[in-house]
């Protein structure tokens, strides 16, 4: 298939999807986290009756409203692209994606839109209790609507609970709960929302730091920092725990991604964890130009084996083990997987030809063979490999995945320390005097967005060439359209999103400069 699909079409289609997904994700995590912080702030107001907490809640609610309004519906563009740029993929996964996305649509519409209206319009019009319940339900609804798209994404990384139908070329869901409760889906959801909580915590601390630097709204800023820092600290701990779980699941289901994250070429017992490393831009392994040599590397001995298997001497496969196979560790060579994938495609081809030519008995037998447990486990399992011609195609961009992963981890560690310092300074009433820390707090806002983007880069670039792990590579998922039309829409999206981003930043900075006041929405 590589020969018949224009590679620039794949690259532009991927680029367009990445652009829209990353821009969309600029808006989402703040919504996920800030809604819970609002709910906590309003709960304090409800419990204490202190009007200062009402003022605080209303200000951050306004910030949330701006972010929500600018970001809402930006994700729909991704769905447009499924139908146009990725129609084969869209068809292939249709049945699996249909249920979660439909639930998301209904949930987002009913929960978010109903309760958001009460949140904004209901101050002093509905009871304090009902208003508070609405704020909590908005937070829960916003996060639950993220659940469904993350379940769908997790399925792409680890397809479970489905059966491929050779007559329709679609995957049909056979067990909703296997899809919904797959460990990868649960972990991905928890890791993603906790990253949103951390972002929201940092965002609030950063903006409050600005007020303190300007010596404005001091009680408001201190109280905001206190809530955001405690919330962010707890979320950070949760983020680390789910990140650890995520690495273990990646090792299990996407070992090539893990090898790329760690820059691990040769698998070994007692594998070390690369804490830091820099690749040579030119020097590569003489046998494989996708494997860049390290110029510099700091490794923690045995830590990777321990992190993945809770055993300091356990074996962790590297890129070369996954490419060439490792009999001792039970790893099949990629070339064998390609042969098995081609066998699966060949069987499908023979079945369709037999059907077309009216050879009913043969068609029946071929379908029986295709659907048998043995064939599914040993051949269809590698269906996607059948579209590939070169084993090296299964290696993602190692420098991009490696650097993104390490940027995410280093920044994540800083955020944890940042929350601890924020709590310490605010509890000891030193925060207003710590001007350097306040400046760093403002600078940490862009860093948390970078960490978010890096995380998604690891997740999505790391699983290349797969759109659906092992079953459908990008090359087979892309529609037969002209690269020119994708290029045009790429730049259109870049323009629209940049305008939206400028609008967001402008409106938000204006409102922040105005500061908290008692009314208006």
């Amino acid at each position: 298939m590589n020969e018949i699909v224009d590679l620039s079409l794949i690259d532009w289609s991927r680029g367009q999807f990445a652009l829209t997904a990353l821009y969309h994700w600029l808006f989402v995590p703040l919504t996920l986290g800030i809604t819970f912080i609002l709910a906590i702030m309003e709960t304090i107001y409800y419990k204490t009756g202190d009007p200062e907490w009402k003022k605080i809640t209303r200000f951050w609610m306004k910030v949330f409203g701006i972010n929500f309004a600018i970001g809402v519906a930006t994700g729909i563009i991704l769905e447009f692209q499924f139908g146009t740029n990725w129609s084969y993929y869209s068809w292939f996964v249709g049945d699996i994606f249909g249920a979660p996305l439909a639930i998301e649509g209904i949930m987002a519409f009913f929960m978010e839109s109903t309760f958001i209206a009460v949140m904004f319009f209901g101050w002093d019009k509905v009871s304090k209790r009902f208003h508070l319940v609405s704020t909590w339900l908005t937070a829960i609804g916003a996060n639950l609507s993220a659940l469904w798209i993350l379940v769908a994404n997790a399925w792409m990384q680890n397809p479970v609970g489905m059966q491929f139908n050779p007559d329709t070329a679609r995957n049909e869901m056979v067990n909703f709960w296997d899809v919904f409760l797959s460990p990868l889906a649960i972990n991905k959801f928890l890791h993603t929302i906790s990253s949103g909580f951390v972002l929201a915590g940092i965002f609030i601390i950063g903006i409050s730091a600005w007020f303190l630097l300007k010596k404005r709204e001091v009680p408001f800023a201190k109280k905001s920092i206190l809530v955001a820092a405690i919330f962010g600290f707890i979320s950070s701990l949760f983020l680390v725990t789910t990140g650890d779980g995520s690495a273990r699941l990646v090792a299990q289901h996407q070992p090539m991604k893990l090898a790329a994250m760690e820059g691990l070429y040769e698998g070994k017992n007692g594998a070390g964890l690369t804490a830091l490393g820099i690749f040579s831009p030119t020097k590569t392994d003489p046998e494989n130009d996708k494997l860049h040599d390290f110029i510099f590397k700091i490794e923690i001995p045995n830590a990777l084996s321990y992190m993945i298997h809770l055993d300091v001497n356990a074996f962790v496969p590297g890129v070369k083990d996954l490419l060439n196979g490792n009999e001792k560790e039970g790893i099949l060579a990629t070339t064998d997987k390609i042969s098995r994938g081609k066998m699966a495609i060949e069987t499908l081809r023979n079945y369709k030809n037999a059907l077309k030519e009216g050879r009913k008995d043969e068609a029946f037998q071929l379908k029986e063979k295709f659907m048998s447990k043995d064939f599914q486990a040993n051949y269809f399992k590698y269906f996607g490999y059948g579209f590939l011609t070169n084993a090296n195609d299964t290696i993602p961009s190692i420098p991009l995945v490696f650097y993104s992963f390490h940027i995410m981890v280093i920044l994540g560690s800083w955020f944890l320390l940042f929350f601890i310092l924020s709590i310490y300074f605010v509890v000891n009433n030193e925060i207003a005097r710590r001007r350097l820390f306040l400046k760093i707090a403002i600078l940490t806002i862009p860093l948390v967005y970078i960490a978010q983007m890096a995380g998604w880069t690891v997740a999505e670039v790391g699983r290349q060439p797969w759109v659906v792990q092992d079953l459908l590579p990008t090359v087979a998922a892309v529609s037969s359209i002209s690269a020119g039309s994708v290029i045009v829409t790429f730049w259109l999206f870049a323009l629209i999103f940049t305008i939206l981003l400028i609008a967001e930043v402008k409106i938000m900075t204006t409102q922040i400069k105005i500061g908290p006041k008692d009314g208006g929405h």
Binding site: M1, I4, K62, G65, I66, A69, I70, V72, A73, T74, I76, I77, F80, Q81, G83, T84, S87, Y88, S90, W91, F92, A117, F120, F121, G122, K125, P166, D167, T168, A169, R170, K342, I345, L348, R349, K352, G386, F387, A476, S479, S480, I481, S485, V488, T489, L492, I496, L500, A503, I507, Q511, G520, H521
Partner: protein, 67 residues
């Protein structure tokens, strides 16, 4: 029911910043659905084939082209 309608009506009337935000949402939705979706993002399989059987056949044909 009247109370709910009034609640929403009053809420929209009293909006200040919300008016700007709603304008942005509406312009955005217009661009998304009436420009991008309509002119640039047709659902190819829906557009080119009249039923699911033909769509499935087309996708399989593309899959089995691979050698």
């Amino acid at each position: 029911m009247k109370k709910i309608v009034k609640f929403y009506m009053d809420g929209f009337k009293e909006m200040t910043l919300g008016r700007t935000l709603w304008a942005i949402i509406l312009i955005k939705l217009f661009i998304l659905f009436f420009v991008l979706k309509l002119f640039f993002f047709p659902n190819l399989l829906k557009k080119n084939f009249s039923n699911d059987k033909d769509r499935g056949e087309h996708v399989i044909e593309n899959f089995i082209k691979s050698k």
